[in-house]
Amino acid sequence: MKIGIIVFPGSNCDHDAEYAFKDVLGCDVKMIWHKSHDLEGADMIFLPGGFSYGDYLRSGSMASHSPVMKDVIEFANQGRPVMGVCNGFQVLTESHLLPGALLRNTHLKFACKMTTLRVETEKSIFTQNMNKGALLEIPIAHGEGNYYADVDVINALEDNGQVVFRYADSKGNITEDVNPNGSINNIAGIMNKKGNVLGMMPHPERAVAHELGSADGVHILKSLIEHGLEIVG
C-alpha cells in the first residue's frame, strides 16, 4: 500500500504521519511537495495537519489552490481514498471535497489535549474494524476546529451517516462539556457522500503507540489501509 503525504509550506504533522504509516504500519510512503503534479502512484492521499501558508487568509484556503490539489481533487473524484487531518480537514472543506467550514473555536483558545471520540458508523473504509459506538482516545491540537455548516447540510450529513466521529465523554455520551471547540452536534470528523474522503480534526497519526498516550489511532489508519481501495470505481 503506497501512501502519498502532501507537504505544504507550513505543514507540521507530515512526519508524524510518515512515522505512523511507514514505521508503525509498514506502508510505502511518498512525501509529495505541494508544487508537484505527480501523485507518484499513491494508492491513497493523506493531507497532514499544520499551518499551511501560515493560515493566511483562512486556514487551508491557500493550500486548496496549490498545484497538487488539482490532482488530489481529481484523485478523490475517482473514488480513491483521501484523508485530511486538522489543517488537512480545513484544506478539504476549502477545496469543496467536503461540505461546511471550520470556524474559530468558540472559546478562542488553542485546544491541545486528549479527546474521546465515539465512532458513529462502521460503514466506512475508515472504521471497518470497529463497532459503532466504540470509543477512541485521540488528541486534538487546533484553534479553528469548530465545524459549521448550514442546517440543511448538517441534516443531510446526519441522515446519510456521513458523521464518522463525535466528541464524547468517557462513557460515550455526547455532551456540551466535552465539545472542545463548539462544533455543531459535537462533530469531530465527516466523510463525503461517496465515503472515500474523510476529514477530521483529531490526530490519529499522533496516537499510534502507548508511549504517546494512546494507540487508538492505529485502528483508523489500519482500516484505511485494509479497506481504502474498496470504493474505487
Binding site: L57, R58, S61, H65, T93, E94, P99, G100, A101, L103, R104, N105, T106, H107, L108, Y148, A149, D150, G182
Partner: protein, 80 residues
C-alpha cells in the same frame, strides 16, 4: 483601478472574536455598545481601467479565493 473589499462573517454565524472585543469595550466603561463583529478588509490593484471588467473580476476572486461563501459575505467598491 483598485478594489476595496470588505469580508464579514454571515450574520447567522457566531463571532467569538467580536464577542470578546465587545466585552473588552464594556470593561473600558463604555455603555450602550451593542454587538461587535470583526471582518477583513482587502485591497486589490488592477492594471485595467475598465470598471465593469474590474468589478466582474473582483466578484470572481471573492467567490473563488478571497471569501468562503459558506461562512462569509462580502461587499466591495472599485476606486478609479
Amino acid at each position: 483601478m483598485k478594489s476595496k473589499i470588505n469580508v464579514t462573517l454571515k450574520s447567522s454565524i457566531l463571532d467569538p472574536q467580536g464577542t470578546a472585543v465587545e466585552h473588552a469595550i464594556e470593561a473600558l466603561g463604555y455603555n450602550g455598545v451593542g454587538s461587535v463583529r470583526i471582518g477583513k478588509y482587502i485591497e486589490v490593484e488592477f492594471d485595467s481601467s475598465d470598471k465593469s471588467a474590474v468589478e466582474a473580476q473582483t466578484k470572481e476572486l471573492c467567490e473563488k479565493l478571497l471569501t468562503n461563501t459558506v461562512i462569509e459575505t462580502y461587499s466591495f467598491e472599485v476606486e478609479e
